[in-house]
Symmetry: C2
Subunit: 368 residues, 2 copies
DNA sequence: CTGAAAGCGCTTACAG
DNA sequence: CTGAAAGCGCTTACAG
């Protein structure tokens, strides 16, 4: 078991200290040790407790004192030690991002968004990919949060849909925010996008082009996003007096390969659908391949819409019309929620994704 | 200036404590407070210093004592507090990943790799995207490393090529490992892939198919990877008695759009190249678009090879032949280096990427 | 091989 | 509004 790191064993009369591996540069900062709260206190002529009050923005401090201390802090470029603060606070200034998601762009964008919110604060982001199928999954995330005394945790879908996990987190007093697609928790604990509305936009668009026979590739049934998108799509078609018959709905796994397989199925139906909505871009890319193999040209013979607006979308030939998920905004809001910097009222400004129209859709050859 | 977080101001006679935002679950762990080194010491009937010795794998401890303490640690599921340890060590157990790179897959994979190495240890990964064009760039990364007392830093390209940054890091005693393409630092500080050799494989392949007139899209001249790939390609052609005339080399920016533009240029040359090597997949995708617009079919009229083997490659139509960069391995090695768990000898087992042959190359229509 | 004391850099009660 | 004391959970010298 590789466990805690092991500093060099000390030899009795060694020079003083021995650096681990990259010996050469293992020197203290030029100026000796870093400056601490005690230095600031001395320099400002106050107690360290007063400096602490300034750092923590306590209102119990005279403005004159505050600004004087603040000036010294800035002049000396003093940065409080997060570990010492954390130890005293009994909580760290670390935010965890927990995910089990194959979409790299999604992860990077939400990290970026969270960091947008954290910039200029003392918080940092610790990444924690995991495998939610692992029987130890919940226990290990719990240990992670507990050991690090995390300030809070951002749960990305589909991990965010795991109630057992959130129960554990609540039990150890760790805040969390779930990134998801509906009200699956108290409002303060969810940053949700309204996929149902977004998908309606896609359906309306296809109908407006004249499509009447449409295929639908859903996400895996365990995912909330899959359900939301499918419901939204059905409802929208119904509003136009259209139906989505069972043979024209197939369940994929949000992967490219499943997209190919689902499209193969859908395109073998008679009448053949003139348009296919895939519940994410990956699967939409699979539809391209299937259509290509069958000799169908896009968009003349088949219109396609995806969901995500990932890097793939613009690069497909023809470029893919898809629904853009504002992932970075989502990440930012989740982090704001955690550090209490949320400006928005939770229920207001719901994040609703929008359709990005490109070149993968056209009127069907023969209407009806 | 939003700075340090502010805990609730305390009211004089308040109940005891007031939770910040998500009040409800703000309880202590069921069992009261977490268990500490003192508890273990008492339970094992030794001093806390002895427990500390066990944690730090000190050799100065009798095996009997060690295993007895270890048993208590495991029974109680004791996890030492990293903040307290870090405070005493004057260094945290955090590894930073610093990058300024648009390739999401690259970032996620290297994070994943680093985490592979960190799993089971007490180290955690803190992400730090940044903008290397920002004049404050070096100073802000330095502050990041300094404030967090980072154990070490992983530098991803092209940030890894910035010597001013590494000088600063060395100055504050922060270890680093550069992920790069050549020996731009002492061996222990570099995890490099041999792109030159990898690209040779691609060139050989094109030549073996019969291509004689080949276009080359390079990366931006400031990047080490760009230089390595270009040099490797030229050399390989020379070995076959072929040349890469200036008009057939154009410099791109590693972006999709630049790929389109470069391909437009190359495909206007006469004689028109029968194959194009793009220095990354993004630009290769751009070549597809350009070829498509000109009515050239791939691979019949034009063979294309990319570099990265990102998610795009397999999804292109036809699927892209490209060079696979073992990013996850790279990330793992970098992290191992930092925590001193490196098994390999630096210079041995150089990571060399390999060609993944798919459907984007064929013999040219008319040889020569 | 083991331990008692002091300290890492902050904050929490508690006084004033 | 301000401060002196004690403590957060570990480790470093220093003794033995």
């Amino acid at each position: 078991m590789k466990s805690v790191p092991k500093p060099e064993p000390k030899r009795s009369r060694a020079p003083r200290k021995k650096a681990a591996k990259p010996a050469a540069t293992e020197v203290e900062a030029k100026s000796g040790r870093a400056i601490t709260i005690n230095d600031i206190a001395r320099l400002a002529g106050v107690s360290k407790k007063t400096v602490s009050r300034v750092l923590n923005q306590s209102p119990l401090i005279r403005e004159g004192t505050r600004s004087r201390v603040q000036a010294v802090i800035e002049r000396e470029k003093y940065q409080p030690d997060p570990q010492a603060r954390g130890l005293a606070f009994r909580r760290s200034f670390l935010i965890g991002v927990v995910y089990d998601n194959p979409n790299a762009q999604y992860i990077v964008n939400s990290q970026q968004g969270a960091l947008d919110a954290l910039r200029g604060t003392d918080f940092e982001l610790v990444v924690h990919p995991c495998d939610r199928r692992n029987p130890q999954f919940v226990a290990s995330v719990r240990k992670f949060a507990e050991r690090l005394k995390l300030w809070g945790v951002i749960l990305l879908p589909p991990v965010s849909e795991n109630n057992e996990l959130t129960r554990e987190l609540a039990a150890i007093g760790c805040r969390y925010v779930r990134v998801s697609y509906g009200p699956l928790d108290t409002p303060e604990r969810v940053v949700a996008t309204n996929d149902r509305v977004a998908v309606r936009e896609a359906a309306d668009y296809l109908v407006s082009l004249g499509h009447r026979c449409i295929g639908f590739i859903s996400g895996p049934s365990g995912y909330m996003s899959a359900g939301e998108r499918r419901t939204g799509f059905s409802e929208a078609l119904q509003a136009h007096g259209l139906r989505l018959p069972a043979p024209y709905i197939v369940e994929g796994g949000y992967t490219y390969d499943s997209g190919v397989a689902c499209a193969n199925l859908l395109l073998s139906r008679r009448p053949r659908p003139t348009a296919i909505f895939a519940s994410n871009d990956e699967m939409a890319a699979g539809v391209y391949r299937s259509a290509h193999k069958l000799g169908l040209s896009i968009p003349e013979d088949l219109s396609i819409i995806g969901f995500d607006d990932g890097p793939l979308a613009e690069r497909m030939l023809p470029s893919l019309t898809t629904v853009r998920l504002p992932i970075r905004d989502i990440g930012r809001r989740a982090a704001e929620r955690l550090i209490g910097a949320a400006i928005e009222t939770p229920s207001l400004n719901p994040l609703v994704p929008h359709l990005v129209v490109r070149d993968s859709c056209a009127r069907p050859r023969k209407s009806g």
